[in-house]
């Protein structure tokens, strides 16, 4: 366990372990100096550089935390704005829908009114046409009946009546005709 191999130094004498004399305190000076040098170098070579790294990291982390908090606040504000916008949109949508429903209702009523009016027109026109057609048909049928009757009467008369009967009938018809105001002798004379 002899550590002398570390230095080529051989003890030439021994100093008493706890001899409270001046030499004891003189021996303290190099020990104190050694420690002061060690403390100074450790401070400037080890402690402060490492502390700087730690401080830089702490500052960065603190900055990140602040950024995160700020981002969170911004996000919450945006979320609030978004929710408000969604609510506004909902209200606006409902208003638009209500307006659209109202306009659609009015349009429907208007269309219905127009349709009813047109239908009424069509119906009236059709009724008039039918009545006209009916009148025309009635006239045509009446004329046809008259023509047929006239033809039948002429054929019957020509087949059955003699000269005396013919004259008698002609005279009676002439008399009837003359009896009517339109064909009276005074009117004809005028």
């Amino acid at each position: 366990m002899n550590p002398q191999f570390l230095f080529i130094l051989t003890a030439n004498r021994y100093r008493p372990l706890l001899d409270m004399d001046l030499q004891m305190f003189v021996d303290m000076l190099p020990n104190l100096l050694n420690f002061l040098i060690t403390a100074a170098l450790l401070t400037y070579l080890l402690y402060k550089p490492v502390r700087r790294v730690l401080q830089a990291r702490a500052d960065r982390v603190e900055g990140d935390i602040k950024d995160a908090a700020q981002n969170k606040a911004t996000a919450e504000e945006l979320k609030t704005q978004y929710e408000q916008k969604v609510k506004d949109i909902e209200v606006e949508r409902n208003a638009i829908l209500d307006e659209a429903r109202k306009q659609a209702g009015e349009k429907r009523d208007q269309i219905l009114e127009t349709a009813k009016a047109e239908a009424q027109d069509v119906k009236e026109r059709a009724s008039r046409d039918i009545a006209t057609e009916l009148e025309q048909t009635k006239g045509a049928v009446h004329q046809a009946i008259v023509d047929i009757s006239t033809d039948m009467a002429a054929k019957l008369i020509s087949a059955t009546i003699d000269k005396n009967a013919h004259d008698k009938l002609f005279s009676e018809a002439l008399a009837e005709l003359e009896a009517t105001p339109a064909f009276s002798k005074e009117t004809v004379a005028v």
């Binding site: 366990m1 002899n2 550590p3 570390l6 230095f7 130094l9 051989t10 003890a11 030439n12 004498r13 021994y14 100093r15 008493p16 372990l17 706890l18 001046l22 030499q23 004891m24 003189v26 021996d27 303290m28 000076l29 190099p30 020990n31 104190l32 050694n34 420690f35 002061l36 040098i37 060690t38 403390a39 170098l41 450790l42 401070t43 070579l45 080890l46 402690y47 402060k48 550089p49 490492v50 502390r51 700087r52 790294v53 730690l54 830089a56 990291r57 960065r60």
Partner: protein
């Protein structure tokens, strides 16, 4: 048997000579270990990006420095936060000094000539912190409290702090070293293969680390109290 080896001496005058003792040499070894680590960290730290995930040496060093910051704040106060690097260096120096005994070297802290200067620095830091941050209250606490006749006792109490600190550390480390030396010196050869493991674990690792913590915690607590009672 436990006197301190002297390897070289430089005489200044009839009464004063500077000695290169076993303590001095082992302090250089401790300094060398710490400074190699510090230089490596300094060189590597130029490439460390705070945004990257730390790995390897960076991870260990950052963990130590960060843990030290929390430890310091837990045992002192923010008023003397500027002393954190100093006490970090003190703690690192003491830990390595105490643990170096496990290699068979004599711990530098097993010499009162090493522990007393360290405690003396604490003493001056206490006075500096007290006078800088609350001069009136601090000086009043020493000279006028509870009444002025107690001033000598208060002054003795202040002066006793470095002596108490230094002898606590020195005694504990020296005691462990003496026990292990006795074991290696007088125990049968067979006992030197198993028993020392447990003793080294306690006296060098556990006790060494514990004494470093105690010295540092007491120092920074005294400084913190002096600055902000």
């Amino acid at each position: 048997m436990f006197d301190i080896s002297v390897f070289a001496s430089f005489r200044v005058n009839e009464t004063i000579e500077f000695l290169v003792t076993e303590t001095t040499r082992n302090t250089w070894i401790v300094m060398g270990l710490l400074l190699i680590l510090a230089v490596v960290v300094r060189i590597k730290s130029n490439k460390w990006n705070p945004m990257d995930r730390p790995t390897g040496l960076q991870n260990v060093i950052e963990m130590c420095v960060d843990a030290w910051g929390k430890f310091f704040r837990g045992n002192s106060n923010d008023t003397v936060a500027y002393f954190a690097p100093w006490f970090f260096s003190l703690f690192a120096f003491l830990v390595i000094s105490n643990l170096i005994g496990i290699t068979g070297l004599r711990p530098p802290t097993a010499d009162w000539g090493m522990t007393f200067p360290l405690a003396l620095t604490t003493f001056f830091l206490i006075q500096y912190a007290g006078i800088r941050h609350r001069p009136k209250a601090y000086l009043k606490g020493i000279f006028l409290e509870p009444v002025f006749v107690f001033a000598p006792l208060n002054i003795m109490g202040e002066l006793a702090r470095p002596i108490s600190l230094s002898f606590r550390l020195f005694g504990n480390i020296l005691g462990g070293m003496i026990l292990l030396s006795l074991l290696y010196g007088i125990a049968p050869i067979i006992a030197q293969f198993v028993l020392p493991v447990a003793l080294h674990m306690y006296f060098d690792l556990a006790s060494g680390a514990l004494q470093a913590v105690i010295f540092t915690v007491l120092s920074l607590t005294f400084v913190g109290v002096a600055a902000e009672s």
